[in-house]
Symmetry: C2
């Protein structure tokens, strides 16, 4: 063993003003023009529909992006986990909805702590969970807004019967430390239907189911101030549904391979804003180019990254992801000319890809214009 060298750290990824082509790879790049377009178009959609926009921060995990979303008109953000909410709460974001259930003493402690600082709402789908949150909130001297999650087609969390919803709403209503906030009604499967009309039809069916639950509550004399749900794929339909009071899209700021493969002929026409840069670092074998971006830089659960630009993007194909290697097939003989080439890849799935990185390198006019920390990276409790 040598003596420790405490200040020995990798060089910074990029500096403001750097040329994009000089940024080391792999790096997560944001095209700010496309990002701004997506940000504004989704806000306009929500405004036109008279619904609140509460973007999902699980997609980007970045305080800088959440602040821009709120500055553009968003009412607050969603988080998927309690720990994920902390960096947002710490920087002063005032309204956070945890769009997910949680169980366990550590989670209850986080919910109570967060409720001291932000307007916190959470999801429940079990009366035992209502009792646990109510007791923790009472002990902690806070009041928490609880939304009942209803299943509108996702088949994952959420109650799926009138009886279960009424039991849940009554349990929340009877707990002095809780406030019944309304319904969480998210259909994840509908988001990724590639055909616009199928997506529209799935969104309408989900909205109808949510509407049935709202009517049920009204018939019992229970007010339902919020119906929240929807995602980037169905936002344009959710906004005009007359059922949703709030939408929760996340990926819309970035797009990814999965969403990019969808039809967007309607009022939301997003642009690809998120890219992973890579460098070809081996061309020793004929017909193959190997780049420096693999599984640890890009999530492959929704497909391999797709080449966006770079030399030969017509005849280069990313065909395999190893831990730190991306293997590209070269449909041309001159693979050796690619050594050192920079590639821009479109990740298959933006949310888990962002979770692998510490920073977004934001570019405009070929230069690095901003560096945004991914402060909630890895916060999955």
């Amino acid at each position: 063993m040598n003596e420790p060298v405490r200040n020995l750290k990798p060089p910074v990824l990029a500096r403001i003003g750097d040329r994009v082509e000089d940024v080391g790879t792999p790096a997560l790049l944001v095209d700010l023009d496309a990002f701004d377009h997506n940000l504004a178009q989704m806000q306009a959609l929500a405004d036109a529909g008279g619904v609140a926009l509460r973007p999902h921060a699980k997609a980007h995990k970045s305080v800088a992006i959440a602040q821009r979303q709120i500055a553009a008109g968003a009412v607050g953000i969603c988080c998927q986990k309690l720990s994920e909410a902390y960096p947002f709460a710490a920087t002063g974001i005032a309204s956070i909805h945890i769009s997910n259930e949680f169980v366990g003493a550590d989670k209850l402690a986080m919910a109570v702590e967060l409720a001291r600082y932000v307007d916190l709402s959470i999801c429940v789908d079990d009366v035992r969970q209502v009792a646990a949150v109510a007791a923790a909130a009472t002990a902690g001297g806070v009041r928490i807004t609880a939304l009942a999650e209803v299943d509108v087609g996702q088949g994952r969390c959420g109650v799926d019967s009138a009886e279960a919803l009424i039991r849940l709403a009554d349990a929340i209503g009877n707990a002095p430390s809780l406030r019944f906030g309304g319904l969480q009604a998210y259909h994840g499967g509908a988001q990724h239907l590639a055909h616009w009309t199928r997506r529209r039809d799935a969104a309408r069916r989900a909205a109808e189911q949510a509407h049935d639950y709202v009517r049920l509550l009204h018939a019992r004399g229970i007010a339902c101030p919020v119906v929240t749900g929807g995602g980037s794929g169905t936002a344009e339909f959710d906004c005009e549904s007359g059922v949703y009071t709030e939408i929760q899209p996340g990926s819309y700021v970035f797009l990814d391979g999965h969403y990019g493969a969808s039809e967007w002929p309607g009022r939301f026409q997003p642009r690809q804003a998120l890219f992973l840069s890579a460098t070809v670092m081996s061309t020793a074998r004929a017909g193959v180019a190997v780049c420096d971006a693999g599984l640890k830089s890009v999530a492959v659960d929704s497909g391999l990254p797709r080449l966006w630009s770079g030399p030969g993007s017509e005849w280069l194909r990313y065909v395999a992801a190893n831990d730190e290697h991306g293997v590209l097939q070269v449909l041309d003989e001159n693979n050796q000319a690619l050594l050192g080439s920079k590639l821009w890849l479109v990740p298959g799935h933006c949310d888990p890809t962002a979770n692998l990185h510490a920073q977004y390198v934001c570019c405009r006019n070929g230069r690095v214009a901003e560096l945004w920390d991914i402060a909630a990276r890895g916060l999955s409790r």
Copy 2:
């Protein structure tokens, strides 16, 4: 926006002495008894074969683990990326091999900086890369050991002809700022062959190919001090090959679903040491239990996590990973009894799973005994 609350952070994941069942989820757990067994058995295997053990730190990304490996007899570590090497170099680990090619000015700067602090070796498979590293080393006043990577069956990086190897070795030998270290000969595909005899045969073929290249160098009067390669799956064969002077296993300390599915009838009989803990947080739908560990807590490139222990591990199956949800099929009617249950899952692939977490929670006798930072998480440049 609220006023910022700068010190608002999620609570610590665990404290030394905590009962394992009280640790919040999801968490990456290490069974220290199994870990110690794996650590000792691999070192014994290398010692018996008279080969050096240079464990691959890409698997664990933890200084604490590297220090234990070196204390047990390892000669140093491998890293897959230059930035990954920094936390290890900073804490005094003296010998680091970058088992991978790299191209680009930022990478050359990192190599030169690292070479000031550690005994650094790198891989090359192109004479253009040799020239670039030699020039950077000369300019930086350092000397770097370069190994020629040869393809022994992986079909990814590495030269695959006698002519190309000779050109490479000559280029290294002619560069005053470089030192020819020998051969990198890794066959990743052989590691995961489930059948022991097939794995052995693939390892032998790879060793024979490496041996041919060594003979070629010797015939040219070029000394080849190191032949390094091999992984957890083939280590027992590589040690007895008479060709490899050094082995590079990484996953052996942990095991994972992929390696766990292999036969281990030989001299290396690893135990499962890495687990992901999860909590069931929704049982609202019949036949389904949803836990809090999804794509952001566990890599699924090599298959979904498998249930190791927990209530009903015989009739519970992890069937789908969403961003922050793991969906479990309950082959029993009483799914509601599972709410709040803690599950231990075996990740399909340990390397990219470790890269998602900030800490290992190390357990012995049902208590948290150590907390190890995953200092190289996300360092993929």
